[in-house]
């Protein structure tokens, strides 16, 4: 499904990522973990087209997507969420999700401005689909609230609803549990289960070990820009190198 091979990224003289490779299977849930500064978020930004890589390549479903911008990736079925939640703060919750349906609709500037019958019909379809995703994530009641006023937990759910509206094949979540209380984290774990149930491949960068061990099939461990280990949660928990990296000294 997703093949990352030999990704290297050098910022100035600092090697943030050094020859990182791994493969993620269709429909699986994979966690990318590692101590602070391991290069997890940089890796995510490269895969999702936000940063450019120095060398290496990324393939999605066999197609080379290296260096493609995020708007192209959305159309190929890849979407992501952000560590610090990137909502459209001035818009309503429903409108946020409606933006997620951008690639699933096609009315252009003129058709919209002239209120062509097909663009009105499309607008209704967008609204209904958006409501479905609000229901799916359990925030229907907030539809008309301003997104900027949401609590962090609800904002996270909205971000996921909006990402699902793109109808992705793969969703990458950057620290989805950051800032959530234990109750909310539990809900998140269930939601990830539901997403995987739809056949969507999930990749998460996460610090919350309990969540990672709970929901992931496979785990990739990064340390100082290099891949340290890869395996099932059990294998990772028993890996001496991983334990050493987390405890500080090897």
């Amino acid at each position: 499904m997703l093949e990352v091979s030999g990704i290297t990224r050098i910022f100035g003289g600092v090697t943030a990522l050094d020859d990182v490779s791994f493969t993620i299977g269709q429909g699986s849930v994979t966690g990318v973990i590692g101590p602070n500064g391991a290069g997890k978020t940089t890796l995510f930004n490269i895969i999702t087209g936000i940063y450019n890589r120095t060398s290496g390549s990324v393939k999605l479903g066999g197609k080379d997507i290296t260096g493609l911008p995020p708007e192209r990736l959305a159309r190929l079925g890849m979407v992501r969420t952000f560590q610090n939640i990137e909502l459209f703060g001035a818009m309503t919750v429903l409108e946020n999700v409606m933006v997620g349906l951008h690639t699933k609709s096609s009315s252009g500037l003129l058709a919209c401005s002239l209120m062509m019958p097909w663009s009105i019909a499309e607008e209704r379809r967008i609204r209904e689909a958006a409501m479905h995703w609000l229901e799916f994530t359990g925030i229907t009641g907030l539809a008309d609230d301003t997104a900027g006023n949401l609590s962090f937990g609800k904002g996270r759910l909205l971000e996921i609803a909006r990402a699902l509206a793109v109808e992705p094949r793969i969703i990458l979540m950057d620290e989805p549990a950051a800032g959530l209380n234990s109750q909310e984290t539990l809900g998140l774990a269930q939601l990830i289960g539901k997403i995987r149930g739809m056949g969507i491949t999930v990749v998460l960068v996460e610090h919350d070990m309990e969540l990672v061990m709970d929901v992931c099939d496979r785990i990739v461990v990064l340390n100082l820009g290099k891949k340290l280990a890869e395996g099932t949660p059990r294998e990772i928990q028993e890996n001496a190198e991983v334990i050493a990296a987390y405890l500080g000294d090897g």
Partner: protein, 319 residues
């Protein structure tokens, strides 16, 4: 969507009925300009209020529309109804071509680039004397006409301008509430998230920049045919700033706010005429306090003010 339509109908009736109250005299002339400025402010608001991209060069697009219409009709004897869309097409293409590289810039840099663009256009108006008549202007531009109906007085021009004005308002209200309008606001709120959702921010910004320029050009053509005379002074940097002020005072991201801003800034200098040389101080003071106390613009600030006054009255009644 139905609510938006009702709002528009209410606005349209208000505009179309206004001459019954204010008919005749100098005021009609000012209201014609409110119409032209509304078109310009609404166009700039699409760019600034919705897409979050600044332009300090819009007076230039307005000017090119006016001059192209003026030159084609007065010098080359074209039909005005033919010159107008051609001017709009030329301006739209130009804006698209220029927009593509400069809309890569953000914030202050975009402001500087569009400022430069406006200044270059202004210099061209002044220097190409053979075409534009230079600083002394271009005269003898014919009025618009349909058959035997010639739009040669303020009353007729009011309805001419506002037919276009209302069409522009409806066009932009529709756009704002649509898929494309949402994508614009999304780019304004978080460009990176909008792109992750599949919005091609770059193309969208260029499209809106071009659309905004086309509407400005249309307003320019109408201005030329209404005034029958154009000179560079009307299309300088000052006017670009005035348009920006209309949009901000009226309310960013509100089409009707742009009308309020345009109306206020067009009427105010006329109302302050009695204050003689002090008018500029009153004008400046008003603008400053408005930005300080109504940061959301008139369209959000006025209802809030009414509510506060009503509450105070209620309070006084109880005491």
């Amino acid at each position: 969507m139905r609510r938006e339509l009702l709002k528009f109908l209410f606005f349209a009736v208000l505009i179309l009925a206004a001459p019954l109250v204010f008919s005749g005299g100098y005021l009609m002339n000012v209201l014609v300009f409110v119409g032209i400025n509304t078109m310009l402010a609404v166009a700039l608001n699409l760019l600034l209020g919705y897409a979050g991209q600044i332009s300090l060069g819009h007076a230039g697009f307005f000017g090119i529309g006016a001059y192209l219409s003026g030159i084609l009709t007065a010098t080359y004897g074209w039909n005005a109804w033919l010159a107008m869309p051609l001017a709009a097409l030329v301006v739209g293409t130009l804006a698209g071509l220029i927009g593509f590289p400069i809309l890569k810039l953000k914030g202050h840099y975009l402001a500087m680039a569009t400022l430069g663009l406006g200044i270059i256009i202004y210099i061209v108006f002044n220097e190409t004397v053979d075409l534009t008549g230079g600083p002394s202007g271009l005269s003898g531009i014919p009025n618009l006409s349909i058959g035997s109906l010639v739009f040669d007085n303020d009353f007729k021009n009011y309805y001419l301008i506002w037919t276009f004005g209302l069409a522009v308002v409806l066009f932009c209200v529709n756009l704002a509430g649509s898929r494309v309008g949402r994508a614009l606001r999304a780019v304004n709120d978080s460009e990176v998230a909008a792109r992750v959702m599949g919005v091609n921010a770059r193309i969208l910004k260029v499209q809106v920049f071009a659309l905004s320029a086309v509407i400005s050009s249309l307003a320019g053509s109408l201005y030329a045919h209404t005034m029958t005379f154009v000179s560079p002074a009307s299309f300088g940097f000052n006017f670009s700033v005035e348009l920006l002020t209309m949009v901000v005072i009226g309310g960013l991201g509100s089409v009707y706010g742009s009308f309020l801003g345009a109306a206020l800034l067009t009427l105010l200098p006329e109302l302050l005429r009695g204050a003689q040389d002090y008018d500029i101080i009153i004008y400046g003071g008003l603008l400053m306090s408005m930005v300080m106390f109504m940061p959301g613009g008139l369209v959000r600030g006025l209802p809030e003010l009414f509510r506060r006054v009503a509450r105070r009255r209620e309070g006084a009644g109880n005491a």
